[in-house]
């Protein structure tokens, strides 16, 4: 069956990977070949080993991350194995899912705590109230004297 080998540099958690031009190879399943973790037998090609890290099996319409463990067999053959990229393989359905998003790169409520780490230091800003009535001056009227009676004070 046909396998398209790619070299990708996207984050594995990216739903839709950017794929370049594929290298198309004809392969055979190796031993008992799992669909989710396939092992593929193909003619030895060092460019696959050197350049590719991702492949797609059109017949199964599934994308795979290529395992580093490529095994070379006698007779000019090699076995390439991989595991399914469930995101890319089901990208169209995933993109159509209705979900609640709690963390987002671009949609932000800035007043929700993002737990951005704070340094130990603190800023300390002091703002004085504009009026200060507590300015004692002997020449002003800072004293009160309470006396009994004293009702005849009126001039």
């Amino acid at each position: 069956m046909q396998v398209n080998f790619y070299q990708i540099s996207d984050n594995p958690k990216k739903i839709v990977k950017n794929l370049g031009t594929p290298i198309v190879k004809q392969v055979s399943p190796y031993n008992e070949c799992s669909v989710s973790n396939p092992s593929l037998l193909l003619n030895y090609d060092n460019s696959i080993i050197v350049n590719n890290n991702y492949f797609y099996i059109p017949e199964w319409d599934t994308y795979y991350f290529m395992n580093h463990d490529v095994r070379c067999l006698p007779g000019g053959r090699m076995v390439v194995s991989g595991y399914e990229d469930v995101l890319m393989s089901n990208a169209s359905e995933i993109l159509g899912l209705d979900v609640y998003v709690i963390k987002s790169q671009d949609n932000r409520n800035k007043y929700l705590n993002d737990s951005i780490p704070a340094q130990v230091q603190r800023t300390c800003n002091t703002i004085a109230f504009p009026n200060n009535p507590f300015d004692f001056n002997y020449n002003d009227y800072p004293y009160t004297l309470r006396v009994i009676g004293g009702a005849n004070y009126v001039p």
Binding site: S36, I94, K103, Q105, A118, F136
Partner: protein, 805 residues
């Protein structure tokens, strides 16, 4: 809505006229088609800051306005124009040209390359003073991708574009004359406003500004470069007015201190100063006017060179009653308004229908000038200076920005999401602080005017006089021997005894405050007194001296310490988390406040002070939108200090007074005076000195046999802080109330949003394809997918741990 708020406020003083961006257009999505057949695209405004005789002439044919007879321009040097609104320039899409390189770059590649610096060559900065470059981009965003949802496609592009502006862009401009490079630092761009024309078209406004030193765009080089930078796929820049100031001919080449600020906000901004060229002297090259010349021209603008494909009208606030004359240009503001009479589809088509006119009577047609004479400060109540017109026509003259600001958001119609009515757990409306809750009684209702007790308010000198009379010290002009003798004669008559204890028993308390008590009380709360009377009306003491003596009618005085604002620092949750806000209240202590209560608001502080007991009550009141809402805290304290002068031993003292002072005792007098001086010194000093001096008095008392039997009671030596809980150490504390805000210093890690993501609204619900970049989902429902259960489980786990869209 004040139309001026739509634009950054301009300061003609300080910082060489840098723009101050003080307000932003609120985010108001609009779905109603905003344009009638005839509509307003913007306005042009020019203003005069000088206040002396000003004249201007205009030339209809050339479109020139020339201002003359501007005197004393050094004092009032400001004259400016700015023009807002704009039509289209059709920029080749998806094209980016880097002046510093020889090959074109596509915007998308720029976005992905973390482009950090853009070099604009062929730029002529001629001035070195501070400049600001305000940018407002009006984009026509439209969908070209039939595979996606048009609106989302536009939103995605906007998001990418803003990300590009905010995350990557800085501008470096080069003075090709000197080789000097200037870096324009970027300030945040936002797309605070857009309106939706239809499902595939939106006009988006993006605001932001750069500031730097020393640029002067005499050839529009910077602008042209910016056009190339900011033009990308799916956008057209709705703007022509940048062309309006294309020529340096009408912007004087400034000297090193000249002012020439350009504002690119989908529009032009021209600021003239005293360096404008001197037309009267046939100065065709421009330059610095080095001396004030009466009759010189401060500046001019040639409308025909504005290249603005619209109609211009010049009017003042009431054009219906004005004629076009030289005196028309007096101090004040005038508007040049620009209208466009085409359908929206023709916005970005050029036209050449503009007319300069002086008439105030026009009918509506496609090619005439309209004169809406609204006051720019009151957009809601403008009147139209037209004699004809219908309501719809009047409405058609509402400016675009007014429409944007007053439009209502459309109803939620996305059928792919559950409608709000389907929600069974809709949240109640959040608590909103409304109404005036504060009902503190600061009206001084506590009258103490009665016949039993009188509270005198006196100065330190008056208190000293009282002491002299009581303790018979008459060695200055204020207290004479006659006064002392008369007093004691009255004492003997009133009480039948010469015992001073009979006098002292009339005194209840003496309290010192760290402030002027008369400032605390209103004039109605105070009453002048001729003498200080003790007990009956016979025991009067003239202690006034050179000042008035007052009696307090109310027990409580109110001190208003004013209001302080608690600003946000970060503008997000960090202002509330890991933030400690405390308020220091003199004589009451420190109060800690909840940041969520006060950040972004103001706090008012008032003291209610009992002038009898010295007790004080501090009120911290939340002020929101200049309205006092409620008490954040009420704290009790003591700010009065008791100075006891009653005495259990006064009889002994009185005996000595009788024997030694009233009869002859000059030696005694001097010794007593020594003690009194200490007491007086204590009174004269500040609070610390009182304690220290009294301590000194105690020491002298110990060493002086005479003073062993002092007039001061054993229990009354020194000044006690009334509260008993605190002492004089409180006086070492600041006397000014203040707010202290302690915040953590946050260090946002690199690539935080693209690797961790920001928290979203709890109801951020929608299709994954509607989001971009990094997202984390909660409890993703994958049940509808056609893949295997194992795959679903993996997908669910991945979505919840974070994926990139």
């Amino acid at each position: 809505m004040n139309i001026n708020n739509l634009f950054p406020q301009y300061s003609s003083t300080g910082n060489n006229g840098s723009l101050k961006y003080t307000d932003r257009i609120p985010l108001i999505p609009i779905t109603n088609y905003p344009f009638p057949d005839s509509y307003y695209l913007g306005y042009m405004k020019y203003w005069f800051n000088w206040q002396k005789t000003t004249q201007a002439t205009h030339n209809i044919d050339t479109g020139e306005i020339i201002f003359t007879d501007i005197t004393d321009y050094d004092e009032y040097p400001s004259l400016g124009y700015y023009l807002n609104g704009g039509l289209s320039i059709d920029i080749p899409s998806n094209y980016f040209y880097d002046e510093s390189q020889t090959t074109p770059h596509y915007v998308n590649s720029i976005l992905s390359d973390s482009y950090s610096n853009y070099l604009v060559n062929n730029f002529h900065p001629q001035a070195t003073s501070m400049r600001s470059l305000f940018l407002r981009f009006a984009f026509l965003g439209y969908s070209t991708n039939g595979n996606g949802i048009p609106q989302n496609e536009i939103s995605l592009n906007i998001s990418q574009f803003l990300s590009f502006l905010n995350g990557n862009l800085s501008l470096t401009i080069t003075n090709t004359w000197t080789g000097t490079q200037y870096t324009l630092s970027r300030n945040d761009f936002t797309n605070d406003c857009y309106y939706e024309i239809d499902s595939t078209h939106r006009i988006i406004l993006c605001d932001g500004y750069f500031s730097s030193t020393g640029y002067y765009d005499d050839n529009n080089t910077l602008y042209n470069s910016l056009l190339k930078i900011f033009s990308q796929s799916n956008y057209k820049i709705l703007d022509t007015s940048l062309k309006c100031i294309s020529s340096g001919e009408y912007i004087s080449p400034s000297s090193s201190s000249g002012i020439c600020t350009l504002r690119y906000n989908g529009s032009a901004y021209i600021y003239y100063n005293r360096y404008a060229k001197n037309i009267a002297n046939n100065d065709t090259t421009g330059g610095v006017i080095t001396s004030p010349i009466i009759g010189h021209v401060a500046g001019r603008i040639k409308l025909s060179d504005l290249s603005y494909d619209g109609a211009f009208a010049l009017c003042d606030e009431d054009i219906t009653s004005q004629t076009y004359a030289s005196t028309y240009y007096s101090a004040g503001e005038y508007l040049i308004k620009v209208f466009w009479n085409y359908t929206f589809d023709e916005i970005y088509k050029s036209a050449s229908v503009y007319r300069w006119t002086t008439s105030d009577v026009y009918g509506f047609s496609d090619e005439v000038v309209y004169y809406p004479t609204f006051n720019p400060d009151d957009m809601n109540e403008f009147t139209l200076g037209l004699q004809t017109g219908t309501q719809s026509e009047l409405e058609s003259l509402l400016p675009l920005w007014y429409r944007l600001d007053n439009a209502q958001a459309s109803e939620y119609t996305d059928s792919s999401k559950p409608s709000p009515e389907d929600e069974d757990d809709t949240d109640p409306e959040p608590d909103i602080e409304t109404g005036v809750i504060v009902s503190n009684n600061f009206s001084r209702p506590f009258s103490i005017a009665n016949q039993f007790v009188t509270t005198y308010v006196m100065t330190g000198a008056q208190l000293s006089n009282l002491g002299r009379i009581l303790w018979t010290s008459f060695n200055d002009d204020t207290v004479t021997m006659d006064m002392v003798e008369n007093f004691w004669a009255n004492v003997q008559q009133a009480t039948g005894t010469w015992d001073i204890s009979a006098v002292m028993n009339f005194i209840i308390s003496l309290t010192m405050f760290p402030f002027d008590v008369t400032n605390l009380l209103t004039s109605t709360s105070l009453q002048s007194a001729s003498e200080l009377f003790l007990g009956t009306g016979k025991l009067g003491l003239d202690i006034k001296g050179t000042n008035n003596l007052y009696v307090a009618n109310y027990a409580v005085g109110i001190a208003d310490l004013g209001t302080v604002s608690i600003p946000e620092t970060y503008g997000d949750y960090r202002d509330y988390v890991n933030t400690v806000i405390s308020v220091y209240l003199p004589y009451c202590g420190t109060v800690q406040l909840n940041p969520s209560d006060v950040v972004g608001k103001s706090i008012s502080c008032k003291y209610a002070i009992d002038i009898n007991s010295g007790e004080c009550t501090a009120f911290l009141i939340l002020v929101d939108n200049n309205v006092e809402r409620y008490n954040l805290a009420i704290e009790k304290g003591m700010c009065g200090f008791s100075i006891p002068i009653t005495s259990t031993n006064s009889a002994q003292v009185k005996t000595r007074l009788e024997n030694n002072m009233l009869k002859s005792g000059s030696a005694m007098l001097s010794m007593l005076q020594g003690g009194l001086n200490v007491f007086e010194t204590a009174l004269n000093g500040d609070a610390f000195d009182i304690g220290g001096s009294v301590l000194g008095f105690q020491q002298s008392r110990i060493s002086s046999k005479m003073l062993e039997n002092s007039f001061l009671s054993q229990s009354g030596i020194g000044c006690n802080y009334i509260s008993g809980a605190t002492g004089f150490s409180d006086l070492a504390c600041p006397s000014t109330a203040y707010v202290q805000i302690k915040r953590g210093i946050y260090s946002k890690p690199m690539h935080y949003k693209s690797t961790v993501g920001y928290s979203t609204n709890a109801k951020e619900y929608g299709k994954i394809s509607n989001f971009s970049g990094y997202i984390e989902c909660v409890n993703a429902d994958v049940s509808g997918m056609t893949c295997t259960e194992e795959e679903k489980s993996k997908i669910k786990s991945l979505l919840e741990s974070g994926v990139y869209v």
